[in-house]
């Protein structure tokens, strides 16, 4: 009798172990523990035993009944957790239900990167109007009326005194008019020039920078732009500063970087020179300090400006600037 209940229990455990799905487990449970189950029957038969054996046998049988019930539950739980191998699974290679996914315009991406680099250095961002007074766009920046320097920028005119800003430089004056030194700002934004070909669009993007404080030197300008270029491109991208001309800086410097395409060997992108002109810069011209009422003896500073679109073209290997403004989805979705 003792052996027999234990044997039944062991057999049931063996069957459970072999069970591969929940239905089988349920069948086993019913067969042993159901109303007509083997163990249920056994428990009923205990009443037929001699009275002195009944308590021990009953206790053991009940224990085993509970143990088996737990074993069934555990097996079912395990089968649920690990999955039912017999179900065959799903085709995981089928595409998932599409989640929406947009993209940032490549110009935005480069613009944000430029701004990030300079804000991490300690520059603040300033913004201003795109339709601008001639005074801020030219006059206060030391471009006199009727001066050939104005030919350097093909200007869209709204009236005699109002233009579409040809550069973000007017914000240098607007900012300095509003606050005393020190000034540390970068000025991103759209600018306009009447020019249209493979490398020019009538609207494009610039980021301008201005730092005015005591004891700011041309060496500091070189250091700041070198740090920028190394972060924007890489540490191997060397820079070349050479004299240039901007009416609002003196001395003025054009900044070339080693061609990112050919690394200086000479290619189509750099017109075989090995260098790419990407920045204009210089020390703030004292005429600007006079125009905004800064003490030109006490303060010095530098300014720089760059074309975002041109840098984006270099970073992404784009040869036609007009692609930026066609907004072809097949183009936009690449970025």
């Amino acid at each position: 009798m003792d052996n027999s209940i234990d044997q039944i229990y062991q057999e049931a455990l063996q069957e459970l172990k072999a069970a591969a799905d929940r239905q089988t487990v349920e069948d086993i449970r019913v067969r042993y523990l159901g109303r007509k189950g083997i163990i249920t029957q056994f428990l009923r038969n205990i009443s037929k035993l001699p009275a002195d054996q009944r308590p021990a046998a009953g206790k053991q049988a009940n224990q085993l009944k509970n143990l088996l019930d737990e074993a069934c539950q555990e097996t079912t739980h395990n089968l649920e957790t690990v999955g039912e191998t017999a179900a065959g699974g799903i085709d995981v290679s089928l595409p998932g239900r599409p989640a929406p996914c947009g993209s940032l315009h490549p110009i935005t991406q480069i613009n944000q990167r430029i701004c990030d680099i300079f804000t991490q250095m300690g520059f603040d961002i300033a913004e201003g109007p795109e339709v601008e007074l001639d005074y801020y766009n030219f006059e206060a920046l030391n471009f006199p009326k009727d001066h050939p320097a104005r030919d350097m920028q093909d200007t869209f005119f709204v009236s005699d005194d109002v233009v579409l800003r040809t550069h973000t430089s007017p914000l240098q004056i607007r900012t300095m008019e509003k606050q005393p030194p020190p000034v540390r700002i970068i000025m991103p934004g759209k600018v306009y020039r009447c020019d249209s070909d493979l490398t020019h669009t009538p609207m494009f993007h610039q980021v301008e920078g201005l730092l005015v404080d005591e004891n700011i030197s041309f060496g500091d300008l070189k250091g700041t732009l070198t740090a920028f270029v190394h972060q924007m491109f890489d540490e191997q991208t060397s820079l070349r500063f050479r004299p240039g001309f901007f009416p609002f800086t003196e001395p003025s410097a054009e900044v070339d970087i080693l061609c990112v395409m050919c690394r200086g060997k000479g290619c189509r992108v750099c017109s075989r020179t090995g260098w790419l002109e990407i920045l204009g810069s210089g020390m703030v011209h004292p005429a600007l300090y006079e125009n905004v009422g800064y003490d030109a003896d006490r303060y010095t500073g530098f300014a720089f400006g760059m074309g975002v679109d041109r840098i984006a073209m270099l970073k992404f290997g784009i040869d036609d600037i007009r692609k930026f403004f066609e907004n072809d989805i097949r183009f936009l979705s690449q970025f």
Partner: protein, 808 residues
Amino acid sequence: MKVSLSWLNDYVNIEMAPSDLAEALTMVGLEIESVSERYRYLDTVYVGRIEEIGPHPNADKLHLCRVDTGREQISVVCGAPNAEIGMLSPIALPGTEFPDGFVLEKNVIRGQTSAGMLCSEGELGLGDDRSGIMSLDPSLSVGDQLASALGLSDTVFEIEITPNRPDCLSVIGVAREIAAIQNSRLTYPDFKLEDKDNSISRQTSIKIEAPDHCPRYVARLLEDIQIKPSPFWLQERLLSVGLRPINNIVDVTNFVLMETGQPLHAFDFDRLSENRIVVRTANKGETFITLDQKERFLDAEMLMICDGAKAVAIGGVMGGLNSEIEDDTTRVLLESAYFNPVSIRRTTKQLGLGTDAAYRFERGVDPGGTITAANRAAKLMAEVSGGRAVGGLIDEYPGRQSVKSLKLSTQKTNRLLGTRLQRKQIENLLKSIEFTIGQKTAAKDKDTLVVTPPSFRVDISRPEDLMEEVARLFGYNNIPTTFPQMPATGRLSTKEINLRNRTRLLMNGFGFREAINYSFAHRQSGDHLRLKAADPRRQLVNILNPLTEDQAAMRTSLVPGLLQTAHYNFAQQIKNLRIFEIGKIFIDETSQQLPTENEVLAGLWTGSRYEASWHGHEAQCDFYDIKGVVEAFLNALQINDVQFSRLPENECTYTRPGYSAQILGNQTRLGLVGQLHPQVLANFDLAQAAFLFELNFDNLIPLLKDTTVSRPTPKFPAIFRDITIIVNTALETREIISTALKQSPELVEDVRLLSVFEGTPIAPGNKSVSLRVTYRSPQKTLEDEAVTPIHQSIADRLVKTFNASLPA
């Protein structure tokens, strides 16, 4: 500007290789745009041998020659008297462009094919002789390129001269920079002209009536000259910088212009009425025919050079047809003047007439260089024309200005540049480009230099200008690289920048791609959008000089740009679009000089909500898709108190009536959302329904919260109860929900729309609306009994308010 190495060598002994020279010039600020071999045009000219000479069947004076080019034997028609069998001579093949601009083609001369051309020195730009074909040294190898066979080589530099450096718009100016780079000597040509007497003053006079426009006018007179082609050396110099020789007198003026940068003009003295010059401004309405045979309309600000009776030139810009040098000219009045740069610039801009002379005058020529240039030119003219200079010169100089000296502080120079230059170093750098250093500073002052710039450096007016000279001659790349001190006082980004950045990421998350369209618009864009006459978006900022008609104004809406983008993509077979743009719109304000600039976000959704795939069929997007985007966007920004209300039909211009809502927040209109009006779609040639939204950032920004105060999360479970009512279809669900929420006790947490249904079994004109009400108490777990009466009262209120019925 072009300069040739051979010409530069006349004034400075160039020690560097051409490529090194180009680099060095670029690094002192004279950017070399290109370096080219001057004799490249001879690439298709070879040493040829005449193998056979026969008569030309149809022309007595022409021969038919068989020429060995080294590669083949070709037949060439030739008229030269000196052609001989066995002679070596340059043979130009088709494609050759001669210095006079003629391009050789294979052609037929009087019925005979000529596959090349035997050339004279003159034709090749290699000498004077045009009498016959060039006879080459018999030891040369047939088939060699002519230039290498003769050892011809010269380098031409194309230099971009910045507007501040007119002194470098001349060969001597560039040579001066090279001398400074090499630390070598600059040799000037002979600028002296000995005058035996001053007889010029008996023959002519100069009268300046407009001294502001013409501060200086120098004249010389030449007589007994003979107009003819220039000698070869003179032609060769002009050719080397890309100028075509014309005749000896004109060539000399061009030569001296290129050499010194001083523009000159030669008048036929005998065609000057009363043999005198009057310099005055034009009369209003005056017209004048310039050398290029065009009639010019003048205004009172333009400077005219006149004789005793009439105008003969537009001063500094272009001479007149009426006083031009002609083949029979024997006397020349030579003008060497200094004109006011602003006056010249105004005139060229006004007339749209740019010349080499005007280009230099408007940038500023050397006011001290007029006499030397006149002397140089007069001497050369006499030499090349067989004539002579009349004794003396006239120098009218009413606008004399002394060159002022500047004080330069060594310490300030070093502070600005970040250098540690010694005073002596600075002095030497400045002296190398002919600046004079004064000796008069006090002996104790070791810091200051008194510097006088040469008269040709019209760009130098401040100490900083001198610092730039020091920096560029010292070498920008030799200045130590340092980093400025940047205290940690950076400000946070503005609300505008934060909102823009946040918006871009949210829109990406909603599946929208960012577009950037031009800020321009067509002047009819208001019509294209069907805007009303009084709509402020019709107040355009017009561009006076637009590139194209559809870019003739600044945009007052982002919508046309997005629709054009849709059109472009539809043409590329891309029909499903979700795009957005953030940008400014520009509204002209009559009361102020500058327009109002507002930053706007606009989005466009057209085509599918989701494309056909194994998950399901394609479904087209609709109003509720784009509205959902706007709701989610505002939600993410925690702008919650927002209403969407139906845009009245008469306000729907570019959106479809009945399918458009204005977005209201805090009593201000934030923007709108809706389906595009079919007529507007047609205006943009679009054949597919499209949905858009616009949000004005300037109105959104005041609604952004600086901080969020958190609320406790609920501790006790909620009870959910549903209500279904049947109402008129015209009733907006927003009304039903707000009525359900109104006057409800605090136990009502939320009322949400579950479903809206029209159709059987609901009677036509009606719809069933199901709401789910959430009840919750902050203090305890609610019992059903507490909720039932409240729920009943809400249901009763809805039925009563909207005359609703309950479902059967």
